[in-house]
Symmetry: C2
Amino acid sequence: MISTVVYRGNIIFTKSSEKFTVIENGYIFVKNGKVDKIKSELSKEDEVYEIIDYKDKLIIPGFIDLHLHAPQYANLGLGMDKQLLEWLDEYAFPEESKFKDLMYTEKVYKKVVKELWRCGTTRSVVFGSVHKDATKILMDLFIKSGLGAFVGKVNMDRNSPDYIIEDTQKSINDTEEIVCEYSNKSRLVKPIITPRFVPSCSSQVMQGIGAIAKKYNIPVQSHLSENISEIQWVKELHPECKEYGNVYNKFGLFGEVPTIMAHCIYSSEREMNLIKNNGVIAVHCPTSNLNVATGIMPVRKFMEKGITVGLGCDISGGHKISIPNVMVAAVQMSKMKWLESDKTYKPLTTAEVFYMGTKAGGKFFGKVGSFEEGYEFDALIIDDSSLGDLDRTIEERLQRYIYIGDDRNIVERYVAGQKISEPKF
Amino acid sequence: MISTVVYRGNIIFTKSSEKFTVIENGYIFVKNGKVDKIKSELSKEDEVYEIIDYKDKLIIPGFIDLHLHAPQYANLGLGMDKQLLEWLDEYAFPEESKFKDLMYTEKVYKKVVKELWRCGTTRSVVFGSVHKDATKILMDLFIKSGLGAFVGKVNMDRNSPDYIIEDTQKSINDTEEIVCEYSNKSRLVKPIITPRFVPSCSSQVMQGIGAIAKKYNIPVQSHLSENISEIQWVKELHPECKEYGNVYNKFGLFGEVPTIMAHCIYSSEREMNLIKNNGVIAVHCPTSNLNVATGIMPVRKFMEKGITVGLGCDISGGHKISIPNVMVAAVQMSKMKWLESDKTYKPLTTAEVFYMGTKAGGKFFGKVGSFEEGYEFDALIIDDSSLGDLDRTIEERLQRYIYIGDDRNIVERYVAGQKISEPKF
């Protein structure tokens, strides 16, 4: 049965990163969960459809978060004065090790999914922990919630604390078990291969999970070139590889299947070209980069090369799950990059970061993150009446919501045409 | 009549910028609105006092905002992709010119005061517009609210758009009128001399208001060394002065009375020494500096010189009134400065930015911003139970609130011992 619903409101989205597309008081026709068309006015024959009128509110695509660590949720806003290694040892790793306890897992992961819902993140790409069962719990919670997600069991079998390191073969087997069990369990929630990063993954484990990725056509996520000492370390571990990215590439983990790499702050020209040629998506995580004091990704340079760049909140390096918060930080850091580069790299615009946090990130999920024909209807309804005068352009109202709004302004969330209520767990 | 009230809770504040002082489950004795003492346990003779038990909540000093432009409130989150001059012409000046309309003034200024209340800013130092009557309205609203503030009528009689420029003599007269009318009207709300910045103030006006400052002993606020072209401009306008700060100094506007200077991003060594020697307070406005793309103030260097540095939200260059938001940005920018300076300037710690946003800024108001003996009891009661596990150190809980909390976590506000309810206007 074909079902069409029409949503009315101030529609705004980014077809391209150059500018917003705005249909003031427009109508989005959604057919079987997908955008069919947008019209400025209804005609006689449209009267047969159900019309949901959001009046003066904004209708925008749902937010896409390409990088976050679910098991670090309880560390949000903690350890922010620590140096990276101290922070990993005192906060990140001890917390992640708790996910062998499934009661604790359930308690925290319920909060993570609720918080994503609350912040309007309709789709996300998520690191779990090394724990197979905990990862399955997270996937099941996402399925229950109606939100979309790729969720990865982390692989780490070297250079990691004893209490969290994995046996190589078990790491590979557990990964395959999840892939087999979850590949077709849900349309919206899928497994993803997740080597933590090169220093914590042996060649054997990368080989093993690379083969799984290929065999089952499962996408990959990891970290890349986040800081200089890490890059140096990778060079020492893999002198045979010219660039950090080449290590993943060697094991089929760099674009053979759809691949996401977080950070890419210090990627060389050669690594950028590899990213570009292999169709890898780079994820900019500005709040995390600020908090962990890693540096400023030259996003403009990536864009000029034609690399797809999405956004990630990267909790708990990043301190908030909110993608608008990340968008603001992305603009702000690009302004610092602009100064630092002697005004070579133009600052990012609001349209550009909005594109990154919707359509660019959405590519990883298929046709998601825009309101063009054929796109899944992932949408947020924004009531910005508490933020100031509504007698502004729709672009201005959206920018204001991004900068000064919060979850209180999101009044409805849709994923693939379904209205998603607050998870009841 | 002497009245003492005892507040119980987890008390945390910064005597010095080096570290937090914490009294878990402690008692603050407040006598006639001032902190008398703090005790860890009550003794028999304390039973005579009224005890207000905030149980597991945090008790922290109220936030102090040393720099914000009240008439730019309606521009919050707007024009963020514009360059500074464009933004001034398209957003800032047109908006400020509206404050000749007293109906509009009242509408906006009510929102400003409410928003300060909502965000826990118990004391602020505020730029008004050039308009005398609008400035009086703002002062009266502050008085009604119970919050503390210094409020300045702006002076600008050159190099400004026609529709907002002042006549020199009227600028001086209006300033004096406000000073006379408001110096003793309220204990908590006071006038402040407010030349916009050197380029928009003639020598004549600076002379005039400098004389008023001296005659009535009224403090001064302005902008200093925010960006490089501005400094260049000042040099051209005042070739007789070696540094930007010397221009203010020449007219008695740089420390002869208590003085606040916002930004100080590009102050030279010589200007810093002048700031230091004249006891001028520097205001760091990191969110504004990011949005307006001016640069990163070398806060560590100022601190090492022994200069007092406070915080300012600087709306609407800054996009949020919240001081915790400014504290996070201050830490983050200091981490970028640390990288940029090849790790010379150590990042600011949470204790340091908290000190800046409470006790350092509070100095401008007398004994404000700490819970030491004799300090006015300006306090916020923070319920952080929605932010995560309470089984953390009090320092961790405060840091978490600063990073991920918001106005919803502030359950009570006190100014000078008085509980302040949401302004009823």
